[in-house]
C-alpha cells in the first residue's frame, strides 16, 4: 500500500481528495452547461447572478455577493457586463451613495422564461433521492468549510 517508488511515506492519492472531486465536478458542470448557456448568450457566472436576481430583485452588490459567495472585486465587472448587455441596471442608492442597487430590466426578466424551457443539466445518472442527498451534503460541506475558516485559521 505504499507509493510505487517506496521512498518516504505513502503519497496522498488525488482520487481520494474530496476537494479534488469537488474541483473537477465544478469544471465538469461548467463544461456541461456551456453549450446550453451559450443559447442564452450567458456565461455560467453571469447566469448564476441572474438567477439570484430572479429570486430577489433590486439588491445591493454586497447582498448579491453574500448569496453568490463573491465580493465586489469579482462581481462588479460581471454586473457591468450584464448591464452592457441590457439585462440589468446599476444605480447608486440615493439614501446611501456608497451602495449600488442592482435590478433586472424587462430583458433580464424575460430570460427566465427562455431559461426555464431548457431545464439545464439534471445530473443524469443520479436518482432523485441521490440528487437531493448529494445537494444537501455538498451544501453542508460548504457551510462547514466557511465556518472552519475563522475557527482553525
Amino acid at each position: 500500500m505504499k507509493s510505487k517508488d517506496a521512498k518516504g511515506p505513502a503519497s496522498p492519492k488525488l482520487a481520494d481528495f474530496l476537494c479534488f472531486a469537488i474541483y473537477s465536478a465544478n469544471l465538469a458542470y461548467g463544461r456541461a452547461y456551456k453549450p446550453i448557456l451559450e443559447e442564452l448568450g450567458l456565461t455560467y457566472t453571469q447566469y448564476i447572478a441572474i438567477v439570484a436576481l430572479w429570486e430577489e430583485d433590486n439588491q445591493t452588490v454586497s447582498a448579491l455577493g453574500e448569496k453568490l459567495f463573491l465580493e465586489s472585486n469579482t462581481l462588479t465587472p460581471i454586473l457591468k457586463k450584464l448591464e452592457a448587455m441590457g439585462y440589468l441596471r446599476r444605480q447608486r442608492d440615493p439614501a446611501d451613495e456608497r451602495q449600488v442597487l442592482v435590478s433586472l430590466t424587462d430583458a433580464g426578466r424575460r430570460l427566465r422564461e427562455k431559461g426555464l424551457g431548457m431545464n439545464l443539466v439534471q445530473a443524469s445518472g443520479l436518482t432523485p433521492d441521490e440528487f437531493r442527498k448529494m445537494q444537501k451534503g455538498v451544501v453542508t460541506l460548504r457551510n462547514n468549510l466557511i465556518k472552519a475558516r475563522g475557527g482553525e485559521g
Copy 2:
C-alpha cells in the same frame, strides 16, 4: 409556492441547484486551503498538479491533463511556473519531440514531506462515513456529467 412577485412561472431557486452547491463548495475549498497552501508557497491548482506527480512522475502534459481534467492551454503556464520555482522539469521526449515530459525535482519531492505534515482540510463537520459517501457521490456525478457531454449535446 410561487415566486414572490407572482408573475410568470416559479423561478428556480439558487439554493436548489446542485451545480451552485458544487460551485460554491469549490470556492469555499479554495479559500479554506489558501492559508495552508501559502505556507508551501503554492496555489490550489499548483498543489493539485504536484500531487498528481507524486502519484506518477515523468508524465506527458496530456497524461497529466487527463488526470486533472485540464488541457495544455491551462496546464502549460502552471507547469512553467512550477518549473521556474524549481519543483519540476519540462523536457521534450527525445522519442517524440511533440510531447513534453514533466518530472519532479528533488525539491518537488521534498514538498511531499512538508505537505503530509499539514493534513489539509478534513471537511470538518462530516463523519468519516459521510465523507466517503460524499466523495464517491461527487466523483460519480462528475463522471456522469462528462459522459453526458457527448450524449446529450
